[in-house]
Structures are given as C-alpha cells and as structure tokens.
C-alpha cells in the first residue's frame, strides 16, 4: 500500500515568491489597501518614535533654552502616545484581516484549484503570507519615511537650524528599522487568520464557493 502513495511535494521559495509578486502586480488595487493601511499605522508609529527620540536627545544634549521648553510635558505625552499607537496598529491589523478576507474569498476558486493540483495548505498560506508581507513592507517603508521626515522637518521649523547637530540620526534609523519590521509583521499577522481559513477548505468546497 505504502509504496503507491508518496508524500514528497514542494513549493520552492523562489516560486512562491514569484507567484506572490505577480499577484500583487496584477491585483494592484487590492495590494494598495493593505499597503496604505500599514502605511498609516507605521507613519503614525514612526512619527511618535522619531519625536520621542529627538526629544530625549535634545533633553540630554541640546541647548538650554530648548531643554527647558521640552521638559514640561515630555513624559506625559509619551504614555498617551504609546496608547494611541497601539490602538492605531490594532486598527491596522483589523483592516488587513478584513482586506485579506476579501482577497482570499475572491480567489477561493484559485485556491481550490491549486489544492487539486497538489498544493498543501502550507503552500497556499505561504503564497498569501508572502504577498501580505511584501505589501506590508512597502507600506511600512513609505510610512516610516514619511513619518520620520514629517517630524524631523517640524522640529526644524519649531527650533530652527540650531538643533541640527543634536538630531540623533542613528537612533532614528534604528527606530525606522524597528517600525518597518513591526509593520511587516503586522501585515503577516493580519493575514494569518483569513489565509488559514481558506487554505484548510476541502478543494471541492473552495471551488464551489462563489463570491
């Protein structure tokens, strides 16, 4: 018995990656929804992190005049901002989940067909999660840049060129990387549940399911 049925099936990462990229290219509008949702979340996160990074750098090393004007409300802001950022990222996850739910149900027939051709549930999940991760990556790169730039520029507007030597660019780069990673992870997390739901359907059911 065992000799007749094998187990070995594969989806090379490069192939999964290619499929995901192509799906993004062709369904660009849908991809934008996820990307822009991550964009907003990460832009907000990044603006707050950048702001607090610059503030604390100025508090430590900055000119006295600026230090005085900053120290008043810095810590108070922080607590509230963390709360707001968490909320916005949560909203972001919900938005992505929603968008991916629609994406997978639109492509239910495709998923069923792939399973007929021998795709394991894992392959389906891989394709969709890579897709979502890429969208999240693009969104968070853009969001991170915009968020950081907006804050840096606004600081310069407020305090003038004198703060230039005190802006902690390296620390900002670190929080930028952190935000991008977080944004990408959020895009993956938001996609896990919808993808799992559709990947585990029996192929017959997935193919039958109309949107």
């Amino acid at each position: 018995m065992a000799k007749k049925i094998g187990k070995q099936l594969s989806l090379p990462k490069s192939e999964a990656f290619k499929m995901s990229l192509r799906n993004i290219r062709i369904r660009f509008g849908r991809a934008l929804v996820v990307s822009s949702s991550v964009f907003l979340g990460v832009a907000f996160l990044m603006s707050i992190l950048t702001s607090s990074t610059i503030t604390s750098a100025l508090l430590k090393n900055g000119p006295d005049a600026i230090r005085l004007s900053l120290s008043v409300d810095a810590s108070d802001y922080m607590a509230r901002n963390i709360w707001l950022v968490s909320l916005s990222l949560l909203v972001c996850v919900v938005g992505i989940t929603n968008s991916m739910l629609m994406a997978v149900s639109e492509r239910s027939r495709e998923i069923g067909t792939m399973k007929c051709l021998g795709a394991l549930n894992r392959f389906i999940m891989e394709i969709f999660l890579i897709e979502s991760a890429l969208q999240g990556l693009v969104g968070s790169l853009a969001g991170g840049l915009v968020g950081a730039l907006a804050i840096i520029i606004s600081f310069f507007f407020r305090y003038g060129g004198q703060i230039a030597p005190y802006v902690p660019y390296f620390s900002i780069l670190k929080v930028f990387i952190f935000s991008v990673v977080l944004g990408t992870v959020i895009a993956i997390v938001g996609a896990i549940y919808p993808t799992y739901l559709s990947a585990r359907l029996e192929p017959a059911e997935a193919i039958r399911r109309e949107v």
């Binding site: 094998g6 399973k115 021998g118």
Partner: protein, 245 residues
C-alpha cells in the same frame, strides 16, 4: 487482500449529505462502482443527480459522509494531508467545466504548476509543459494568459495541465459543458486519444450524448444512485436510437 491489479477506482457504499440550514440533504445514496485501468467511463445523469458530488468523492476533493473510496486499492480516508495532496498531484488529473486555470499565470505556467509541486526541476517541467501544450494543439500560445484564450483553448490548457504529472486517472466534470458543439467534439477526441495512447483511465461526467460513442462504459446516475451501467456493446443500439430522434 484479494487485489485485482487493474481496478483504479472503487467506491463502496459512498453517501454524501449536505446540511441546508437545518435540513439534511442526501445527495449521494450509496454508490458502488469499480473502474478499471484504461477505461473510458462516462457518467450520465440529469442536472442535480449528484455527478459533481460523486466526482469530488472519487477525486479526493471532498470527504464522503459514509462509505469508502479506494484509489489503486488505497483507502483515501486513511491518507494524511501530505499523501492526499500527493494523490491529487500525481495520481489524478482534474478537468473542470469552468476550466479553472489560474488567471494570473500563462498557459505554460498553468501546465508547469503541478510539476513544480511534484518537485520536477524548472527546465524539465518547462520542456514537458511545451510538449503537452503542443500535443493539445496550443504550441503557439504557451505564453498567453487564460483571458487571452478562447474557451476551447482554455480547456486544452486544462487538459495539458491535467496530464502534467502523467496521472493514472483523469476526472473530467463536464469538460465540454461550456463549449460549442464542434469544440466539444475536439476536446472529447483529445481525451479519447490520450486515453488510448497512454492508457489513462478517463472518467467524465456529461450531459453530452456524443460522449457515449467513445465510452467503454456508461454509468447512469439518477437521484444520487446508480441507475444502470451499460457496456459499449449494449450501447450502440441506444446511441443509434438517440441519434435517430
């Protein structure tokens, strides 16, 4: 085990129920079938008689409520997820009424996809994909997307895809249902040719009486049950009568 080598598909008392709200609808009411290697089988029956449902059971695309399905004498219900996917990948080729090509992929990519899953190398699968597409008469259009192809051409791609991993069984659910008469005939001819040349068992569901001509056996389904099974020999008379009307 009283193994008859040449039975590729055996169903024993297969039933399938669907829940429609609170009502349980019995769509298959105990199907017993034996299909031999290399046979060309047509499953006939009115709309709603359960042909597609039966196909899904035979193809391991859905689970029966009761009864057993054996493919090559292996009980499908005993397979784990990997083995089941392997079976779908290597043992069975599926052809659908609605073609079901992956819309974002070219004809060639559609055909190579099952080979990728099977672990075939890229070059090898591209070679074989080209050959198959040539075989179904689409050698020129391998880089076209499904929406750039006619229905008949799409179905040819689907046939090439179904044969990608040299399956033992082809399951075709109304492969000509969305095609005009002439194209339908060509598709059927193609299936029959593959059946004869490669010894693949072909099982098709159809309303299409043209299919009867070339079938080794015709299984008539009515209301979720096998009404009767006819051999080629008995058929000729029938087909004559049908065509005479």
């Amino acid at each position: 085990m009283p193994e008859k080598k040449d039975i590729v598909v055996r169903t024993v008392g297969v039933t399938k129920n669907f829940m429609l709200g609170r009502i349980e609808l019995q769509v298959l009411k105990g199907i017993d079938l034996e299909i031999n290697q290399g046979e060309y089988i047509s499953i006939m029956g009115p709309s709603g008689s359960g042909k597609t449902t039966l196909f899904n059971m035979i193809g391991g695309l859905d689970k029966p409520s009761n009864g057993r399905v054996y493919i090559d004498e292996v009980d499908v219900a005993q397979l784990d997820a990997f083995e089941l996917a392997w079976l779908r990948c290597r043992k069975i080729g599926y052809i659908f009424q609605t073609f079901n090509l992956i819309p974002v992929m070219t004809a060639l990519e559609n055909v190579t996809l099952p080979m990728i899953f099977a672990g075939t190398s890229h070059d090898e699968s591209v070679d074989k994909g080209r050959q198959l597409l040539e075989l179904v008469g689409l050698g020129e259009r391998i880089l076209h997307k499904p929406f750039e192809l006619s229905g008949g051409q799409q179905q040819r791609v689907a046939i090439a895809r179904a044969f990608a991993n040299s399956p033992a069984i082809i399951l075709a659910d109304e492969p000509t249902g969305n095609l005009d008469l002439k194209t339908g005939k060509e598709i059927i001819g193609l299936l029959k040719e593959m059946n004869r040349k490669q010894g693949v068992s072909v099982i098709t569901a159809t309303h299409d009486l043209k299919m009867l001509d070339i079938s080794d056996r015709v299984i008539w389904i009515r209301d979720g049950q096998v009404e009767r099974i006819e051999n080629r020999a008995d058929l000729n008379i029938q087909v004559g009568a049908v065509e005479g009307e």
